[in-house]
Symmetry: C3
Subunit: 329 residues, 3 copies
Amino acid sequence: MKSFSIQDINAIINGEIVGESTNAITGLEQIEKANPHQATFIGSRKFENLWKDSNASLAIINDNIDLEPGENKAFIKVKNADLAMAKLLEAFAPEAPHFEVAIHPSATVDASATLGEGTKVGAGAYIGKNVVLGAHVTVYPNVTILDDTTIGDHTVIWSGTVIRERSEIGHYCIFHNNVSIGADGFGYRPSDDGRSLVKIPHIGNVVIGNAVEIGANSCVDRGKFSSTIIGDGCKIDNLVQIAHNCVLGRSCIMAGSSGLAGSVTLGDGVIIGGSASIKDHTTIHSAATVGAGSGVMNDVPAGKTVLGYPAVDSREMLKQWVALRKLAR
Amino acid sequence: MKSFSIQDINAIINGEIVGESTNAITGLEQIEKANPHQATFIGSRKFENLWKDSNASLAIINDNIDLEPGENKAFIKVKNADLAMAKLLEAFAPEAPHFEVAIHPSATVDASATLGEGTKVGAGAYIGKNVVLGAHVTVYPNVTILDDTTIGDHTVIWSGTVIRERSEIGHYCIFHNNVSIGADGFGYRPSDDGRSLVKIPHIGNVVIGNAVEIGANSCVDRGKFSSTIIGDGCKIDNLVQIAHNCVLGRSCIMAGSSGLAGSVTLGDGVIIGGSASIKDHTTIHSAATVGAGSGVMNDVPAGKTVLGYPAVDSREMLKQWVALRKLAR
Amino acid sequence: MKSFSIQDINAIINGEIVGESTNAITGLEQIEKANPHQATFIGSRKFENLWKDSNASLAIINDNIDLEPGENKAFIKVKNADLAMAKLLEAFAPEAPHFEVAIHPSATVDASATLGEGTKVGAGAYIGKNVVLGAHVTVYPNVTILDDTTIGDHTVIWSGTVIRERSEIGHYCIFHNNVSIGADGFGYRPSDDGRSLVKIPHIGNVVIGNAVEIGANSCVDRGKFSSTIIGDGCKIDNLVQIAHNCVLGRSCIMAGSSGLAGSVTLGDGVIIGGSASIKDHTTIHSAATVGAGSGVMNDVPAGKTVLGYPAVDSREMLKQWVALRKLAR
């Protein structure tokens, strides 16, 4: 177990210590549950009463909050307690599972694949023909990476994930359990006689930038022609569907169980709420937000927030909800 | 194929035999499809006409239904035909796939892992460092269980499931295919310069009680600090998302494709309908019900039923729906 | 890289060449992105201006569009550019990943399983007892197929997919990554004392016809008794839930993230939009359409289109949406 003094902790987050406690800090916890060896976080005044009753001996607190630590307790005052929390979580993080050998004997790595320095391949993983893994890539057990895929340095691929052939993946990505990358897009045409459906082959691929995170059991389908593209820094939650030929800009966020139909375009910094879904061939422009549970059927201008099903400007949707409630009375 | 006499069947469900049939019963089937060697179930009067035309020679019937079996046919009258059905399904269930050896030679079990008596590990499965599997645990092929996880007795883990490090799982659980347990929660903060997103490490874990069932391709993320907790007896369907730091009480039900955002609390016996989603930091109190397809944005009091998007009291939502239909005419 | 002359291409799609270009065609691309060695497609007049600026030297164009190719450029006029596109995508498709040996040495194939001519089993795959794989079946790495399952000729099963025991699967099916077939249905009854939930065993199976495609991370649960049935030619997208005892007719389409609760019946040619969900025991009759995002709570007559939550006739729902917008002003 890791253990830090309050001074050690302040060396990480560069704040100002107020009050005094000699307790070693061995973990982080929310304010109601913390014990005397855990630090907690105070990001707003509403935590004031909880602090009085908390057993924590240390709180990281926003410096614009006027509060005293109390006896035998300490604060570290910082500009942004949330960012400090992220740094401390990193400091306290236990080491991820690791492997002593580069390639586990039960893994299958094709002779034509190339692996960079420090790259590890876990038990039962499959690395296909001409796959190129950069340096310090971690492939956890039972991952499948098919032919001609390239993966950048420091990318981490958790167990059960499947990456289909010809995918191009950047540096410092994280793919969680059971992700699917590069499955065929969903497209059919009625046959000439109208009696059945003709599969449209999807001969494109998936191109994923740097520092992209994709949640467990999420799917990114390959393009029909050319590529489905996910820009640098995008963060995708669990059980998200990204269909063929979608193009996501930089640093987009898609929360859990949301989905994009085919050929949707997201600008930069778009936020898609949980369980929201977007119609095919729609464009959500940069810095727009789609509220949770929304169903978007039209383009969304830059910076705008839409909400509801069908989604409209969020203030208008709130008015609709109020009006309907009144009407029902 | 298993074969039972009507007397054998009554020994299992402890009812009262009415009428007579000497047919051996080799299976169970719904009333319209049953053949003379299958038993069927009559739980309400509306099945009366179907029974006349049914080829089944035996029906299990609620004892408050006034009906005669007819010539060469038999009833077994019971208090609750649904519970009797559950017992008979168990009696007729074919044996699950099983393995002759404890650890399949193609599985990888770390030398530091411990396995209880009667525990089986299938082909291609991976059991990491310091993992503790109780007695009579079944790990089907191609499961991945990472370091320091503990799993209780008689738990069954179907193929493709991935359990991340430090998970704690109880007795008699069932995890279906391709479940993800313990992936990182979804949390980011804007960087100091506001130009990118900083990942918030999730250093907690997942704690799952006894007799919990989790459906295929569902996800339970690990906590940011401390744990995401699923109480004893919870039943989770397929493609369900349970985000970081959710806490579920005892015997909650979540139907298919539903989802909880981060830090949602469910009391005991909460029922979440299919495709419903719950906003982060919301509490659904004990014995409350969320209707299918709902989007819940506020706490729900104990015992209440909410419905719709945004969800309100279900009677109020039904009124809103009626009012809107009238308005449109 | 494959390379075709314009004459080669016309031999595939049987159209009429207009204009002239000697460029070799090595790929297909959408009109704005195409280079001089790529062919593109013009399915409606709205592409007219884009064609003027396109670098493509060949377009496949619907023969009812009155447009000239221009200098050093060619058209191939066809009745249906979309069908021609499907044929050309097939012609240009790179070969799928393939394996030199029938059974990879790291795969586990039970001695009692039988494999047809030309069938391949990839690394780390598991084929259980009495499994019957037809001819020319492709099982990609890390697939799991449990006991007594039968799979028809030419079916392709991508990595991570799990098929539970006693499934029956037809010819020419495609199952994408991480599909779950045959997990237990979701059914419980309150125990006699009302204090917990009794699992209802699901002793049926899954029966899937010919030419069925199932998307990545989708689930089809086994029946309680008898079977969950998916008819010939059904096309299922990613992250779709099909619960126990559903029965789908021929050539149904279910788009991404949609779901059917238990015992839903779809006729032939039913279309379910993305993220739509259907209540248990509902019937959607043949050729009906459910709009994206809808929540269906009642049977839908043949040929009808329903929309919204709760879903009603689509024209009525559009009126409701208009009425609510007006009301809010």
